[in-house]
Amino acid sequence: MLSVSVIIPTYNRHKQLLHTLKALTLQDYFMDLIEIIVVDDGSSSPLGGLVNQDWPFNIRVEVQNHQGGTNAKNNGARLASGKVLFFLDDDIEVSPNYISSLAELHNTYNDVIVSGNLIPTSTNKNSPFGRIYSQNNQQDKQKQRITNINYLDILGGFFTIKKGHFFDLGELSGVGSGWPNWEDVIFSYKAYQNGFEFLRCWYATGYHYDHSLSNISTCARRWERASKSAVLLFHKYPDLQSQIPMLTDKTPIDWDLDSPSLVIRKGVRTVVSTPSITYLMEALASAFERWYPSPRLLRPLYRWITGSYMYRGFHQGLRSYGRFGSE
């Protein structure tokens, strides 16, 4: 039986953190093999009351100055005494079989990064966006399976790796300071180059109570920020340029390398992402949300709007951080 360390970085979300910890008390793994490390990234009020509780597992709180989530995870990993590191964001609540299923996989395989099945869950019951987005992911057909996944599907707040491997790969490092700094993509890319396998265990679920799912504009703005900092990522790791599927048709047209179909896709994306058309689509989406909230109509509209925001963010990034690949 492997001992596990769950590393939870947190920043000013005490109430949600409490839910996360309570979900961990239901784990069907040996409680004395579970160690929880809460890394408080300089929250404005102390976490003291949380540790003094009667938790069934060992829990310790590490307070650091506000340095961002990536550093918090690294600090937590250095303190960990378990054989396997479970990185968990403070807004993810896991199912009772989460630790036992993933620990079993780590027991069986070596050189793997294992992830569970993350289900976006909206806490805003009145917003059609949250409802449709969560419904979309409620049922999956691969419920009882373990599958190989692409290294890009590993999320920084929801993956597990053996402690030795984590330090062999040189910890997490991002391109910027705060979110989004793409530390998960960089880390899993390094792992991929070192011949790691990436597994997803579909029946070990985590519910992501993501505040950005409350409506389409907060969600789209988030993607805009992520796309903007993706430019920095591409500066640092030019190999990744063509790898990230969400940005394939948002990058500028490269007439020498792009296939004709990709050139057409990029052209269409440029046209449909103009601010006036995006504004029109947002108005249309809010009208549908109000009068006819059909998932079948709204889902493609949401995709369109998020796509436009990503395009906008990426081009903002190009303007502020400079183009790449031209020299």
């Binding site: 409490l18 839910h19 069907d28 009667d54 009772p96 419904q135 109570y209």
Partner: protein, 315 residues
Amino acid sequence: MGEATAALSKDKPVQEPLVGILVLNWNSPQDTIRCLHSIKTSAYSNYLILVVDNGSIDDSVLQIQDTFPNITIIETEKNLGYTGGNNIGIQYFLKKEIGYIFLVNNDAVIAPDSLNYLLSIARIDSRNGFAGPKILALEEPKMLLSAGIYMNSAQDPVHRGIGEFDSGQYDRVSEVDALSGSACLVSREVIETIGMLDDNFFLYHEDIDWCFRCKNAGFKVLFVPSAKVWHPDPRIRDENSPLVIYYITRNSLLFKRKHHLGPWSTIRQLTNNLKTVISWSIKPKWKNKSIQRDALCNAITDYILKRWGCNKRFC
């Protein structure tokens, strides 16, 4: 921070929440009395029992009152189905200071410590909306009937472990897609958030719909194996009942429509149903199945014409 520490503070006395136990009776006083006897032996003390008599045409109310003079009984004028009857009870409980409602079928028998186990899990977190026990067969007390409900690849609900011998293979607290409505604990917060049972269902599948709505609202549905409930095996009882065939067929189609489970699962089910109708019509072996076949046809017609709720023919 204030709220979080307040909830965690050790000095606060831990009180057992008041649980409302809701039993729905319809023309089966002996079953109800057996169920109430089992509830009375419960190790949990802080509960209220309510019996809703769903328009029984026999002397149910008198018999129950004779045996348990202190129990509150609400009588409805006509049969409102599982949804209507339970909704009346839930409304009654919501006016009181209850924290959880335990819905239980009147033909079930509850183990004395079930409520304690269910509550110990449900009370850990306010996000734990539903908690359901392990359901075993009354005729054969070691045979599993349900260890939670899962959706299979064809998007049909399947009782986990049905017909299996219970050797502890499901003895882990786990998250499931839905729980059987024959016995489940619901928190007040969930009902206040997602509303009561959907009256369009009348009977069958309303529990699965409720759990799905609960999950969509961000709550969790948990299966608690240490809590046990014994229930008559529905596979024996309901095999040839036209009422059961009608409501199960129509409501599973309605459920798929309501939760957008995709056109393919609906088409697959409709095709299977039509195959059954044809087979029951032309094969000499099934010549005694005409009532069941008519019920199936009615169900499909009512689905297409969007006639939900109670059907006068099957009441």
